[in-house]
Amino acid sequence: MSKTPTVHFEAASTLAVVVSSNEPLLFLSDDQKVIAASASFCRAFEIDPATVPGRRLSELGNGEWAMPKLASLLTATASGSAHIEAYEIELKRPNQKTRQLVVNARTLDDGDIDHIRLLVAVTDVTDARAEARLKDDLVRDKAILLREVQHRVANSLQIIASVLMQSARRVQSEEVRGHLQNAHHRVMSIAALQRQLSTSTGGNVELRTYLTQLCQSLGASMIADPGRVSIQVTVDNSAVEADVSVSLGLIVTELVINALKHAFPDERSGTIVTDYRSSGNDWTLSVACLWGAMHPRRDWGLALSRRLQRT
């Protein structure tokens, strides 16, 4: 490093840019004397601007910038052997909270190779970090709350389902038992949806999984001989809003219960086909009964078609 006895003057434009920098910025000589500091730097770290020029970095303020780690990094940067990019340090001042800083430093490349000077940007990220942590905490709290709510809903549905089934087992009248079992099916239909929603992201319900689960649960509780009657579900890739899926689920529940009760008298065998497909705003939901090989395919007349008006 050549030591010139002559005083070196910095270009006025460089100094003006440094001083007016919105981000706290230091302009240092290679021996870490402050040539200029931005007004934002002085404001952010409570340093009197008048005391700054010519002072060593380690002497700024009450000497809180005398950090060996920072000094060695700046020396390395000045000699060209290191780059400081987003280096994190802690600024400790008496009677003040420790601030977390992110430091970026580089040599000024203005063609003057005899005078190595450093540009050091110092960003105080303490508040941003605290905010990010707060946000993380909030997100975690929300997730815990959501899980808790889902858990409570599942438990409440379990209580309703249990009470309905207990009553259904106790009651003498065949007709009342049927009603109670149907009510139980409806509760389970809502429960299947709830389960589907709790595992889905965004609140849209994928109909194939939902209707398949729903029909499986209906079949499991209502079909005595799975070899005789089965339920087939064919659904395209449609996903609908939760509100819509509640209605679709209840419609399918009613139609499938009806079909299971009335479409296969006298040990007749066959398949119930639940089908849903959509194209644009149009969709078709059908529940059809296919009787055994002796009968030609016959829709049971329970096809519903609706046009969803989205406004």
Binding site: R147, H151, A154, L157, Q158, I159, A161, S162, R195, A220
Partner: protein, 134 residues
């Protein structure tokens, strides 16, 4: 097994759900015992040696939840079959002892009855039993 009838212990802290579960066990033709939490369940398991299956909730007050309880039971009474039910759907059977079954709440009575019948009829041994009474 008690007089040829399988004995099922229901562990559930909610009284209404417990009543329903006991009723379900009875309607399936088994003998039902009930406990409010894991500690009570362990006391019952220690006091008698005829319990074939434990049907437990997961979230319960007390020293253990249903998952810890199921591992404890598998460790201490290996032949006892396990069914675990929870309101949390994320739980996987891989968190549970080998051979136990998991169902999310609300469970379907028929599905549970079916699982109980399968577990109780299975002859799969889970490991050498150290319980001299079995």
């Amino acid at each position: 097994m008690n007089n040829g009838i399988a004995v099922v212990l229901v562990v559930e802290d909610s009284p209404l759900i417990r009543m329903g579960a006991v009723d379900l066990v009875l309607s399936a033709g088994y003998e039902a015992l009930e406990a409010r939490d894991a500690d009570e369940a362990i006391l019952i398991l220690e006091s008698r040696s005829d319990i074939d299956l434990v049907f437990t909730d997961v979230q319960m007050p007390g020293t253990m939840d249903g998952i810890k309880l199921s591992h404890y039971i598998r460790e201490r009474w290996p032949p006892v079959k396990l069914i675990v039910a929870s309101g949390a759907t994320i739980l996987e059977e891989s968190n549970l002892p080998m051979g136990s079954r998991f169902f999310s709440k609300p469970y379907d009575d028929h599905t549970i009855k079916d699982a109980m019948a399968r577990l109780l009829s299975s002859e799969i041994s889970i490991g050498p039993s150290e319980e001299p009474f079995r």
